[in-house]
């Protein structure tokens, strides 16, 4: 390769010059204030307040306007939403949501569940800081199985649904939880069997928690459906049974606490009565 003296010397000059400029540039940055802000404890604002409004953070469900349609549950490609509906013992025409769990640990924040929601009950918030020592504690329970909430009836032609301020509900939940709270305990894998044997007897007399009883064994499904044919459309019931099944089979990641889950009928009854 031919190289003239001019290129040779030019290369040396380039090297010296690039050292000169490069080093002065890096030194000038060394002497300036860093542009990054130290997260999390030196930020001028909580980071969530600096996020754009359409940020897809943790999901929040406003139980007051949830119609219990389960559209979000069906939309979720991962299956991290788990909804159970039952009839109110006091008022058979009123359906109540006994379980509405969202596993934020599985959620990929795709927003597919938000779109089909008829009332905007399920929404993304700008909350994202809720690390937990136990990943199971990232399941957010929007329905209390002991105090199920009644489904919302959409008034004809309604276009506005009064919603709690976005983010307030999920923030309350996050703040109420210690980061190192112990995870919920699950039954050992065999445990669902005994309740399966036990379930039909209570299911028949109480004639209500069919969905909870159904998952235990596929066989009693028709039996469970039988007691409540008059109030529940069959396909809805079946959907409820199907959705309940995965929850109960792998020892219920969404179960409130194993004991009530296994004998769901027992605790719900006293709660619904008042």
């Amino acid at each position: 390769m031919n190289q003239s003296a001019a290129t040779y010397l030019g290369n040396i000059k380039d090297t010296v010059q690039s050292f000169w400029h490069g080093m002065s540039i890096t030194l000038s940055y060394l002497l300036r204030r860093p542009t990054t802000i130290q997260y999390p404890d030196r930020t001028p604002l909580p980071v969530r307040d600096t996020l754009p409004p359409r940020y897809r953070g943790f999901l929040e469900v406003d139980a007051d306007i949830c119609t219990g349609c389960q559209a979000c549950e069906r939309a979720c490609p991962i299956g991290c939403i788990q909804i159970n509906l039952e009839k109110d013992a006091a008022n058979p025409k009123q359906r109540v949501v006994t379980q509405f769990d969202i596993d934020e640990a599985k959620c990929m924040f795709c927003g597919l569940c938000v779109e089909p929601c008829p009332t905007g009950a399920i929404q993304h918030t700008r909350e994202f800081e809720a690390s937990q020592r136990s990943v199971r504690n990232l399941t957010f329970r929007w329905a209390d199985p002991l105090k199920p909430f009644p489904v919302y009836k959409v008034a004809k032609g309604a276009e506005y649904f009064p919603r709690a301020p976005l983010g307030s509900l999920v923030r309350a939940k996050i703040e109420a939880r210690r980061w190192d709270a112990p995870p919920p305990e699950f039954l050992p894998p065999e445990a669902p069997k005994p309740p399966a044997a036990k379930a039909p007897p209570p299911a028949a007399p109480v004639a209500k928690p069919s969905a909870a009883a159904a998952p235990a064994a596929p066989a009693p499904k028709p039996a469970a459906a039988a007691p409540v044919p008059e109030a529940k459309p069959a396909e809805l019931l079946k959907a409820a049974a199907e959705t309940a099944a995965p929850a109960a089979a792998p020892a219920a990641p969404a179960a409130p606490s194993p004991a009530p889950a296994a004998e769901a009928p027992v605790p719900t009854t006293p709660e619904v009565k008042p």
Binding site: H21, M23, Y29, L30, R33, R42, P44
Partner: protein, 458 residues
């Protein structure tokens, strides 16, 4: 739990204890180490040891059979002190480099463990020591395990002749410079061994690149070292420093225009020999995972990095010794040390001078270490062909030219001694002008974007 329970005043304070511990460590460790070295190195020299044997143990050191045992104990103590100096220096430097890198990249860098994140290097060390020490299944187990010790030995043995002050060097070999150049070759052996024995293509590439690089750059480095040797007429580290003076125009770097150029050649070659960016081809993360140490983990991995960061001190101390006047204190003639010392345990004034010379040496060395860190975060890694052409087409010919020039220059200086002083003054002035220009350029860079110098938020 929300990490941000309340908005603005959520600034968490470093707990008092952690702050106290980190400040104590940041100040106490270096000061304590330097004080220890200052005290222990002159005291454990043969003459004082002999005096100790004569006066305390009441034996004649010339004939007593256990004299060598006392010497051996002294050497073990010295080796322990210097190994710890190297380890702690490289640990603190690893923190400092991350902080500087952060600032240069407009980040903050580690700042969680202790004040300014100072304790992070201790956390790193503990973490690395607790990791499993894996040996790959197909590796050559013996060589794989031995390789870090070669690197470590090649690095730590340089402390035998590295000076810290007038009398603060473990020993002053008359072939000190030659000893350093040859002992650092052990590092290449270690790198090649680790690359070969890992039985991984990345490690092998890294080892090969390293060998090619170090062997090539030995030549300009060796030639560059010859220039101060020619000017001082000795290979001894202390002898070279004694031939210089405390003021900048008495340093070799400024006394000879060829030495001025050679300083940069030497510095560049040292960077390349230490595999330091921009010459970190042997461990190019983007191409070779981590190069020759890809397969290492735990303690052995830590050894490699200890040697790598510790090498910065060695490189800088070498450059300071042979080009920048070493520990010379301005206006203190070499004879004064000898006059003050007297016989037996030296007086306090002598210790004061030693401490001052050590401080000067340390300040210069730490300045150069910072320059090396600064270069690392300025320049990108060069390609293999660029690395080779830089060495063979630029550094080697130029250092040959400098070598020849120095030969003639020494003849000229012997005839006209004022030439050296004039050149020293002239080059020092030129260096000052360059520094001022550089500062102005930096200031302009800052002002050009409407920013200002702000050293808060460290």
């Amino acid at each position: 739990m929300s990490a941000l329970p309340t908005p603005a005043p959520a600034r968490a304070k470093t707990p008092r204890l952690a702050a106290a511990v980190s400040i104590a460590a940041a100040v106490g460790l270096p000061v304590g180490l330097f004080a220890l070295i200052l005290f222990i190195v002159p005291v454990l020299q043969p003459d004082l040891l002999d005096a100790f044997i004569r006066e305390r143990l009441h034996h004649d050191p010339a004939t007593w059979a256990w004299r060598d045992a006392v010497y051996a104990v002294a050497l073990v103590v010295l080796a322990f002190v210097f190994a710890n100096f190297a380890a702690i220096f490289s640990g603190i430097l690893s923190w400092w480099e991350r902080r500087v890198a952060g600032r240069i990249q407009s980040r903050i860098g580690p700042n969680r463990a202790g004040v300014g994140g100072f304790l992070v290097w201790i956390a790193d060390a503990v973490k690395l020591l607790l990791k499993e020490d894996l040996v790959p299944a197909d590796a050559d187990r013996i060589l794989f395990r031995a390789a870090p010790y070669f690197v470590m030995a090649g690095f730590i043995l340089t402390f035998v002749v590295l000076p810290f002050g007038e009398s603060i060097a473990v020993t002053d070999m008359n072939v000190g410079l030659f000893y350093i150049t040859s002992i650092t070759a052990l590092v290449v052996v270690g790198i090649l061994l680790s690359g070969w024995s890992s039985n991984s293509k990345w490690a092998l590439f890294g080892g090969m690149r390293s060998a090619a690089q170090v062997v090539s750059y030995e030549i300009p480095a060796g030639l560059a070292i010859m220039i101060p040797v020619l000017m001082a007429g000795t290979l001894s580290m202390q002898g070279i420093i004694r031939a210089q003076g405390g003021l900048p125009w008495q340093w070799f770097m400024f006394r000879n225009p060829a030495a001025f150029v050679t300083f940069f050649i030497f510095f560049t070659s040292q960077l390349a020999e230490a595999n330091r960016t921009p010459f970190d081809l042997p461990e190019a993360e983007s191409e070779l995972v981590a190069g020759y140490l890809s397969e290492y983990s735990g303690f052995r991995f830590a050894l490699f990095f200890l040697a790598e960061w510790g090498n910065l001190w060695v490189m800088a101390a070498m450059a300071v010794t042979i080009f920048l006047g070493g520990w010379q204190i301005p206006f203190v003639p070499n004879e004064l040390y000898g006059q003050l010392k007297g016989i037996g345990f030296p007086p306090l004034a002598w210790w004061g001078l030693q401490a001052a010379s050590m401080a000067i040496f340390a300040v210069k060395t730490i300045f150069l270490v910072n320059v090396i860190v600064w270069i690392r975060w300025t320049l990108p890694r060069i390609r293999v062909d660029q690395m080779m052409s830089l060495c063979w087409k630029y550094l080697v010919p130029v250092s040959f030219a400098c070598f020849l020039f120095t030969l003639l220059w020494q003849i000229a200086v012997a005839a006209v001694p004022a030439l050296e002083t004039a050149m020293g003054l002239g080059l020092t002035a030129a260096a000052v002008v360059l520094a001022v220009l550089f500062a102005r350029q930096t200031h302009r860079n800052i002002a050009a974007v409407g920013d200002r110098i702000d050293l808060s938020n460290w």
